[in-house]
C-alpha cells in the first residue's frame, strides 16, 4: 500500500496483516507513517495505490462512515472524544449504527463494567474528564460498535504510567472477548509485551516484522527502541 496527503507521499509501499483474535502492534518513531496507516484503514484517506482488504472485501475506497459498519472501529490519536457531550452521550454515539434501544443499553452497561470510572462520570461532559478517563471513553466508544477489528492509535499518549497500565489491562480484556486489535504505539516495550505480532515502521516503510517475543530480543530493536543501558 502506498499513501499520503495531497502530493506528500508518506507510506512507501507497506504491507501488513491482522488475523482474527490477535493483537498486532505497529511501532516506530514519530513520523514513521503509523497514523497514516490507520487513516487508510478507517477511510479518512484513500491509498494512492494498493488495497485495504477486510474479510476479503476491498474497502480502500469506502468512506469512513461506512467502514464502521463493516466492523472496524477506531480510537483515534489524541482521543477525539466529543467534549461537548456527556460520557453517556459519547457512548451512545459509538453505537450510532447499532439498532435497538435494549441492545444499546446492554452494550453501554458492558462498557461501564469494563471501565467503572465511566459509570461514575456518565452525566459529566467529556471535556471535564482527566486524560486517562478520556482515553477510556475513546476506547469505550469504539467498542460500542462491537468491532471485529479495533484500531487503537497511541492509547498511552500523555498518560501517567499507572494509568497506562490500567488501560493496557483493559485492552487485553477486550481481546479476550474476541476482537482483533491493531495497536499503534510509540512505547515499543509496552506494545511488544501485549501483542503477538509486530511491525516496526520507519520513514513510511516496514523495517522489521515478526512475532513480538522474537522482536523483543532483536538487537536492532533493543538498540533503537528498548534502550538498554
Amino acid at each position: 500500500m502506498v499513501a499520503g496527503y495531497d502530493k506528500a507521499q508518506v507510506l512507501h509501499g507497506i504491507s501488513l496483516e491482522v488475523h482474527p483474535g490477535e493483537i498486532v502492534a505497529l511501532v516506530g518513531p514519530n513520523g514513521a507513517g503509523k497514523t497514516t496507516t490507520i487513516r487508510c484503514i478507517t477511510g479518512e484517506i484513500h491509498p494512492m495505490s494498493g488495497k485495504v482488504q477486510y474479510n476479503g472485501t476491498d474497502i480502500s475506497e469506502m468512506p469512513s462512515h461506512r467502514i464502521v459498519g463493516t466492523g472496524i472501529s477506531c480510537s483515534p490519536e489524541g482521543r477525539n472524544i466529543f467534549g461537548n457531550l456527556t460520557v453517556y452521550e459519547n457512548l451512545k454515539m459509538g453505537a450510532y449504527l447499532v439498532h435497538g434501544r435494549k441492545n444499546i443499553k446492554e452494550r453501554i452497561s458492558r462498557v461501564y463494567d469494563l471501565f467503572p470510572k465511566l459509570k461514575e462520570r456518565k452525566g459529566q461532559l467529556a471535556e471535564s474528564l482527566s486524560g486517562g478517563e478520556q482515553q477510556m471513553l475513546a476506547i469505550g466508544r469504539a467498542i460500542m460498535n462491537e468491532p471485529t477489528l479495533l484500531l487503537l492509535d497511541e492509547p498511552s499518549l500523555g498518560l501517567a504510567p499507572v494509568v497506562v497500565e490500567q488501560i493496557y489491562e483493559k485492552i487485553a480484556e477486550i481481546r479476550r472477548e474476541g476482537a482483533s486489535i491493531l495497536l499503534v504505539e510509540q512505547n515499543v516495550g509496552l506494545a511488544l509485551e501485549i501483542s503477538q505480532k509486530a511491525y516496526v515502521m520507519e520513514s513510511g516503510q516496514v523495517k522489521l516484522s515478526g512475532r513480538s517475543e522474537t522482536l523483543e530480543k532483536d538487537p536492532y530493536v533493543i538498540d533503537t527502541y528498548l534502550g538498554v543501558m
Partner: protein, 302 residues
C-alpha cells in the same frame, strides 16, 4: 423623565413579537453554523421567501391562514434545500475554504434578494390580516397586550422547546452536536453528515418560515429586503447565544429584541434611526469581552 414601571412593561410586551422573530431566526443560524461551520448569510432570504409564499397564496388565492402558514414553511424549506444543493454542497466539495463559502453565501443572499426585487419591486406590500389574531387585551393596570403577540410568543415558545428537546435527546440531535464538535470523529463512529446537514436546513428553514409569518402578522408588510437587517440581527443573536447552542440562540433573540426596543423607548425619538448601532455595539462588546457568547457553545473552543 417620566420613565414609569408601566411604560417599561408596555415596551417589554411590545418586544415579545420582535424577540420571537429573532429567536426563531437565530436558531436557524446556529444549527447550520454548528453542522457546516459556515454562516448562512442567505438565511434572511429563506425567511423573506417564506413570507412571500404566504402573502401570495393568501392574497391572490384566498387560502386560509393555516394553509398560508404551511405555505410559508414550504417556501422557506424549499429555498433552504435549493441553497444547500446548489450553493453550499458544490462549494464545500470543490474548495472547502471558509472564504469561498462565505462569499458564496453572501452571493446567494444578494442574488435572491435582487431576484425578488426584480419580480415584485422593492415596495412594501401589505400582508393580509386574520380575524382571530386581531384584538387587544387591556389589563387592570392599563397595559395593552395584542392577541397576535400572545400567539406569536406562544408558538415560538413551543417551537424553541421542541427544537431544544430534539437537539438534546434524539439520535440525530446528539449526532448534530457531535458533528459540530468534531466532524471527523463523528464520521469514525458512522455518522454520514450529508443527511444531518439536510436535517439542519429543514429545521432552520421551517423556523424561518414561522418567523416570516410572525413578521407579516406583526408588522403587516412584506418586501424583498425584509430579511436583510433582521437576518443580521438573528445572526448576532446566534453569536451572543454561543454558536451551536439552540436555547442560547433563542434567549439571545429575546435579549436583542428587548434591548433594541428599550434602546428606542428610553432615548429621545430622534435617536430611533440609529437603533442598529445598539445591536452592532452589542456584537462588538461580546466579541471583545466574551467571544464564545453568553452561553456554552457547541463547538470546540481554542
Amino acid at each position: 423623565m417620566e420613565m414609569s414601571w408601566h411604560y417599561l412593561t408596555q415596551q417589554l410586551i411590545n418586544a415579545l413579537s420582535y424577540g420571537s422573530i429573532l429567536a426563531l431566526l437565530a436558531i436557524g443560524y446556529t444549527m447550520i453554523y454548528g453542522i457546516l461551520g459556515l454562516i448562512n448569510f442567505a438565511h434572511g432570504e429563506i425567511f423573506m421567501i417564506g413570507a412571500f409564499f404566504c402573502y401570495m397564496l393568501v392574497t391572490f388565492s384566498g387560502v386560509s391562514f393555516l394553509t398560508g402558514f404551511f405555505a410559508a414553511i414550504a417556501g422557506s424549506v424549499l429555498t433552504g434545500f435549493l441553497i444547500e444543493r446548489f450553493v453550499y454542497n458544490p462549494c464545500l466539495k470543490r474548495s472547502p475554504e471558509v472564504l469561498t463559502v462565505f462569499i458564496a453565501s453572501f452571493g446567494a443572499s444578494l442574488g435572491l434578494r435582487n431576484l425578488f426585487t426584480m419580480i415584485f419591486g422593492d415596495g412594501r406590500r401589505s400582508f393580509p390580516a386574520f380575524d382571530f389574531l386581531e384584538g387587544i387585551i387591556i389589563t387592570e393596570s392599563g397595559i395593552f397586550i395584542n392577541i397576535k403577540d400572545l400567539w406569536i410568543f406562544g408558538v415560538t415558545l413551543f417551537l424553541v422547546l421542541a427544537t431544544t428537546l430534539f437537539i438534546k435527546y434524539t439520535k440525530p440531535g446528539i449526532a448534530m452536536r457531535a458533528v459540530a464538535y468534531d466532524a471527523n470523529a463523528a464520521r469514525l463512529v458512522g455518522v454520514n453528515s450529508t443527511t444531518l446537514v439536510l436535517v439542519a436546513f429543514f429545521i432552520g428553514s421551517t423556523l424561518a418560515g414561522v418567523s416570516a409569518v410572525a413578521y407579516g402578522v406583526s408588522y403587516g408588510i412584506v418586501n424583498p429586503s425584509m430579511g436583510y437587517i433582521i437576518g443580521l440581527n438573528g445572526f448576532i443573536a446566534a453569536v451572543l447565544g454561543g454558536i451551536g447552542n439552540v436555547p442560547g440562540a433563542a434567549i439571545s433573540g429575546y435579549i436583542i429584541g428587548m434591548g433594541e426596543i428599550m434602546f428606542v423607548a428610553l432615548l429621545p425619538p430622534s435617536y430611533s434611526a440609529v437603533r442598529p448601532i445598539f445591536v452592532w455595539g452589542l456584537l462588538f462588546l461580546i466579541l471583545f469581552l466574551k467571544p464564545s457568547g453568553l452561553f456554552r457553545p457547541n463547538v470546540k473552543i481554542g
